[in-house]
């Protein structure tokens, strides 16, 4: 059975009849379970092309479905629904509706690159996961996921000053995702450290949060980066057939 047809045997697509006779044959009960038929007509024929246009998705067409990526996958080991091989299949087939069932977990790729290491076709599945997560957000299928919020908070600091200060990244991320900064495990972690650290070093670390570290003379690099990023955003939007506001 082709891979996507596993959707046909989901519980909601299985039918049993308490009393049914077809052409003189009794097909009642569990022994005669039927699968609801489905003709797929809603293929999204541009989905592969759009995802391939985003950074990381370029080589999705090389996939021959060997499953090495899923077999090697770190996240698959803790969540069997996280299945890069299957998603690549759905994207290449244009089965958007099936892909959207997993829209809230695709962003969880941890970029360990085990898939990229294992892939015999240089598909770069890690990149495809990022491109797919990005596509889902740009198309408005999902809200901005925590990893994208984090990537943006981090990158904005790099673009602005050339360096990051990890305390600020943490604070920005918790603020943007509306989480309290005072998580119990974070308090325990910091308390343990503060008890042991000499006052001088604590002062130094504290000052680093007040005086953000920066690369000197970064202004021109910043302007060049900002200009480049704006161009890339516009190119992504064009590739995904979005209007200037980013909506479809």
């Amino acid at each position: 059975m082709p891979i996507h047809e596993k959707s046909l045997i989901r519980p909601e697509n299985l039918v049993t009849h308490d009393q049914l006779t077809l052409e003189g044959v009794d097909v009642s009960g569990h022994w005669s379970t039927f699968i609801t038929s489905r003709a797929v007509t809603d293929y999204n024929e541009v989905m592969q092309e759009e995802i391939a246009a985003l950074p990381g998705g370029e080589f999705i067409h090389r996939c021959w479905q060997c499953g090495s990526c899923t077999n090697a996958c770190t996240v698959n080991a803790i969540n069997p629904d996280f299945n890069p091989r299957y998603w690549i299949y759905l994207i290449r087939m244009g089965m958007e509706e099936e892909l959207l069932r997993d829209k809230d977990i695709i962003w969880q790729c941890v970029s360990c690159n085990k898939c990229t290491y294992a892939c015999p076709r240089d598909v770069n599945p890690e990149g495809v996961m990022k491109a797919t997560a990005h596509w889902l957000e740009l198309k408005g299928h999902t809200e901005k996921k925590p990893s994208m919020v984090f990537d943006e908070a981090f990158s904005e600091q790099v673009f602005a000053s050339g360096k990051i200060e990890d305390g600020k990244v943490l604070r920005d991320f918790f603020t943007r995702t509306k989480q309290p900064l005072l998580q119990n495990w974070l308090i325990a972690l910091v308390r343990g450290l503060v008890m042991r650290l000499p006052v001088g070093l604590l002062m130094k670390l504290g000052l680093a949060t007040l005086f953000h570290p920066r690369t000197r003379g970064w202004g021109k690099a910043r302007a060049a980066i900002d200009e480049y990023v704006a161009e890339r955003h516009a190119a992504d939007a064009r590739a995904l057939h979005l209007d200037a506001q980013g909506a479809e």
């Binding site: 970029s111 990893s147 119990n184």
Partner: protein, 307 residues
């Protein structure tokens, strides 16, 4: 040991100025104790870590290329990065600039607009702190210098993801005897064994700690780290030796989080390999920043005669 790398450019990166401060301190102290000269890159910038590539990979290549151009301008042909993220990104930039015309164009454009040297592939070699000690001093050299053997200390060597994957950006690895292996790395094992440590057979050397999502998907990271910690304990390790500030901080953070949120307590200690080597060379735990680690290993070190 080839005796190379006695005088290299040093790229600490952002993490080593923040949460990985102890790694920075211990790396510098280790260099000093071994007579190896480190010259910090002047006015370096962030490598983009695991984040900027998700905005645009070519931009990440540019960020690393700028750092490589600084090394070139300073007259160095080798830059040493102790952080796996920085090391990985410099290697990735080198690979992309060598093989991808579009990456070269973006780099040239941004570098000329920013007004600095455009880095071209092949001018500067990037090495990790492990390559640095392994090549400049070697196991025999290290053995001769050990004052305070790590004997009796059971170590699980943990390398993480970015030191070996993806394979194609590390063309010098997997080249037979003496070179590093991407499937079963051993440089840290070799160095710590030379310092007297007893390495346990740890099957998760290159497993992932979830560092990329340490905050954005904390439960996943905690599960991954808990697996690393409990497996190290099952292997009989007293301590997990690390060579990456993101892995190191991730292990420490999620060790606490696993206890607070999942109710799973683990007691294995976490130390940078540079801290362990430094102490083997007779440096005090304080000198190599053991007190700066989130995970408190002072009891273990005292018990093993190192503290």
């Amino acid at each position: 040991m080839s005796g190379k790398y006695k005088n290299v450019a040093y790229y600490p990166g952002c993490a080593l100025e923040g949460t990985g401060h102890a790694y920075n301190r211990s790396t510098k102290e280790l260099g000093k104790a071994l007579g190896l000269k480190l010259t910090e890159l002047k006015n370096w910038n962030c490598c983009g870590a695991m984040e900027v590539k998700n905005i645009d990979p070519k931009l990440q290549t540019y960020l690393s290329a700028r750092n490589l151009s600084i090394a070139e301008d300073m007259g160095f042909d080798t830059v040493m990065a102790p952080c796996n993220g920085c090391y990985h990104n410099l290697k990735k930039a080198e690979y992309d600039l060598k093989h991808d015309q579009a990456s070269r164009e973006v780099n040239r454009r941004l570098a000329s607009k920013a007004g600095h040297t455009t880095y071209e592939a092949g001018k500067v070699e990037t090495i990790h702190a492990l390559d640095w000690i392994k090549d400049a001093i070697g196991e025999e050299g290290l053995k001769a210098r050990v004052k305070n053997s790590l004997s009796g200390l059971k170590v699980a060597n943990y390398y993480g993801c970015m030191y070996t994957r993806p394979r194609h950006i590390f063309p010098e690895k997997d080249q037979g005897p003496g070179t590093e292996s991407t499937s079963k790395p051993h440089f840290m094992d070799d160095l710590l064994a030379a310092a007297g440590a007893e390495n346990v057979d740890y099957p998760l050397k290159t497993a992932c700690c979830g560092g990329a999502h340490t905050l954005s998907d904390s439960d996943t990271s905690t599960k991954l780290v808990l697996n690393l910690l409990t497996t190290a304990e099952a292997c009989g390790a007293d301590v997990i030796a690390t060579e990456c500030p993101t892995c190191h901080t991730g292990l420490e953070m999620h060790q606490v989080r696993a206890e607070k949120v999942f109710g799973r307590k683990t007691t294995v200690k976490i130390l940078y390999f540079t801290q362990l080597l430094g102490m083997a060379l007779g440096l005090s735990p304080r000198k190599v920043g053991v007190h700066e680690n989130f995970s408190d290993s002072s009891d273990l070190l005292r018990a093993k005669g190192l503290g």
